[in-house]
Symmetry: C2
Subunit: 154 residues, 2 copies
DNA sequence: TACACACCCGGTAGTTACTCCAGGGTCAAG
DNA sequence: CTTGACCCTGGAGTAACTACCGGGTGTGTA
């Protein structure tokens, strides 16, 4: 199997396959006399696994860890649970902020009914106003402290 | 106002402020005799605007465009509408795939009840199996065609 | 006066996960 | 013998920062 065929079979771009090889996720395949990479079914399986993990938005570093578990089935799988839990937490956090974001954008979009100049555009007004009134969460709690203990100046 | 104060006031990292300046989003401020950047209220406002747009996950390129609209209020705001619409579409697409992702991870997490070795881990089995059975959408439609019109070979 | 410490400077390099490009080699069909 | 599909390596580019380096500045305190 050459790289193009492997790519077609797994829906992975050729450049990406070579990238995975360089990154140490896909073992270096044998080479034909002409120097072309020659892949076997094991490579296909492994690449499909990587692809699937990536579709689940698991980072390459974590995919690497998972591949090590696959290679060493005697290891404790509690770590796998943790990895998935962490992934789930990240996804949920992003999901939340995305939902907030969507509502904000919809509200924003509702501000403008088009057909006029930017000067009166509700969207721009809204954005500028929001920027103005923005409460800065980092001021309310957990400030990194210093910023020079000065009395008054400038 | 020095860069640290501006950063505190807007919740933006100092390095990020300098980055925005280099990227042309924040105008170069005046300098004190010692070379320190000296910001005024206009900078604060502008940075807050950028910050807010970024919180809405608007790309820096698009923020730049918005800033141009702010600077030229006589322009047609139809373009702003388009920009926000595009943003909304992107957010919604990501939202969808995130939701699918979350369900998949939850299902995955349910496969393993911990306390055993990775060899019998349901999560790993599931991932490997899913990778195996993965239907490749790109095969079903819109193949980029060639892959050499060959008869049969290795 | 000396020191520590917070703050600032510019410039460069690193991050993630690719993606693209240049410049070249290989191989089968027409 | 040319065309076109395919492959190779190595390097650069992407977004939006983040981190680090070596060094300069300014002030409160011992």
């Amino acid at each position: 199997m050459r790289i193009g065929e492997l790519g077609q079979a797994t829906c992975v771009d050729i450049e990406t396959i070579r990238y995975y090889e360089k990154a140490g996720l896909l073992p270096e395949p044998a080479r034909n006399a002409n120097g072309y990479r020659a892949y076997g079914p094991a490579h296909l399986e492994r690449l499909a696994f990587i692809r699937h993990c990536r579709a689940l938005d698991i980072s390459l570093a974590d995919v690497k860890r998972l591949l090590e578990f696959v290679a060493h089935p005697e290891a404790d799988c509690g770590d796998i649970d943790q990895l998935i839990d962490g992934q789930l937490a990240r996804v949920r956090a992003r999901l939340n902020s995305m939902q907030v974001l969507e509502r904000q954008l919809v509200a924003l979009r509702g501000q403008c009914d088009s057909g006029h100049a930017a000067g009166e555009c509700g969207i721009l007004h809204e954005l500028v106003a929001a920027a103005h009134g923005e409460a800065c969460a980092c001021h309310l709690n957990a400030v990194p402290e210093p910023l020079r203990t000065r009395k008054r100046s400038a």
